[in-house]
Symmetry: C2
């Protein structure tokens, strides 16, 4: 097994970090990796907000339901679906932007942002760092927009807390990949596995 697949298969969410900061070199590599994924028509419809400042983390904490990781992590990356930059580019080139004012275009920007986010995660883990996605971002989008002073057409869709792991939790029980995949006739697989699986929710 190659080191990349090994990194991916060793993934587990890390919720406790040591005091150690993320080096500037590691941060730059993570951001470069984030920005090198596929994007819709190379439109690059995303932005990343880098938070290392504890004061800003404190401001965001209530919108993250005050979970400790939101302030204890040395680094928080917030990934935004971003049509603001692209629309500005269109204006600059005298092009119309109406075609992008719909849910389909929003989906493109969400996709670009999430590709970037997962690239950042794999890169961070390859550097020995640990991370956890903060799903709380989806509960309080309006508050994050306000706190982060985001302009129109910039929507936070993913938030990752990153740091040096303080522990190594057991791997989570996952549905086997064979149960996630549908073959040949493309009819949804039976749900027989439900009795066996140990769902941890």
């Amino acid at each position: 097994m190659n080191p990349t697949i090994e990194t991916i298969l060793n993934h587990r969410s890390i919720r406790t970090f040591t005091e150690k900061k993320i080096t500037s070199e590691d941060l730059q590599l993570i951001l470069k990796a984030a920005c090198n994924g596929s994007t819709m028509g190379n439109m690059q419809l995303f932005s990343i907000i880098v938070t290392q400042d504890k004061e800003m983390m404190q401001k965001m904490a209530p919108a993250h339901f005050n979970q400790p990781i939101a302030t204890n992590a040395p680094l928080i990356l917030t990934f935004c679906a971003d049509f603001h930059r692209f629309n500005k580019y269109c204006e600059y080139r005298g092009a119309e932007t109406e075609a992008y004012s719909n849910l389909q275009a929003y989906q493109w920007a969400v996709t670009d942002a999430l590709i970037a986010a997962q690239n950042a995660c794999v890169a961070a883990e390859s550097l020995g760092l640990g991370l956890c996605w903060l799903g709380t971002i989806t509960f309080n989008v309006d508050k994050f927009v306000e706190i982060l002073q985001l302009p129109k057409h910039v929507v936070p869709v993913a938030c990752i807390a990153i740091g040096h792991p303080a522990n190594t939790p057991e791997l989570t029980t996952k549905i086997a990949s064979t149960k996630h995949t549908l073959k040949k006739k493309h009819i949804l697989i039976q749900l027989l596995f439900l009795k066996k699986i140990n769902f941890q929710i």
Copy 2:
């Protein structure tokens, strides 16, 4: 630079493949990697449809606007946001599912599916394979649902064509990661770079 970050930074879309098939071993590794990412509350709200059958590719081709890659690739992976399985699980446990009948929950499933998709991409590229996202999936979701016989609450959100690269295109010009990231005061960066960047759309 470690091999994982090297893999990510060497990413470019591959649209022409050799005749060589994907080995079963490689496919299993790609699917395992896809299924090992973070997921919302470990709900694992996604499914992957594996298409290697040319007849099925031909059926999907018109919905992919007949782009050659949709039939020339040896492997097409279609990633679906999937609340069908989880709802079945809830029913089986006698739990209500109404709380998930909204756009926020849909966003969770989209996120789970896209994390899985990008993990698959990084894994495939680490194995020397090439790939291209088919954004066409977002144009004809209803048709793909019909062709793939997907039940309610299963929505295709990403489609990746994978194969052995027949060429090595130049790396695409990307916005520098420093232009994607916002720091300190979290105010959107100036758009001065627009005059310099060579957007390729």
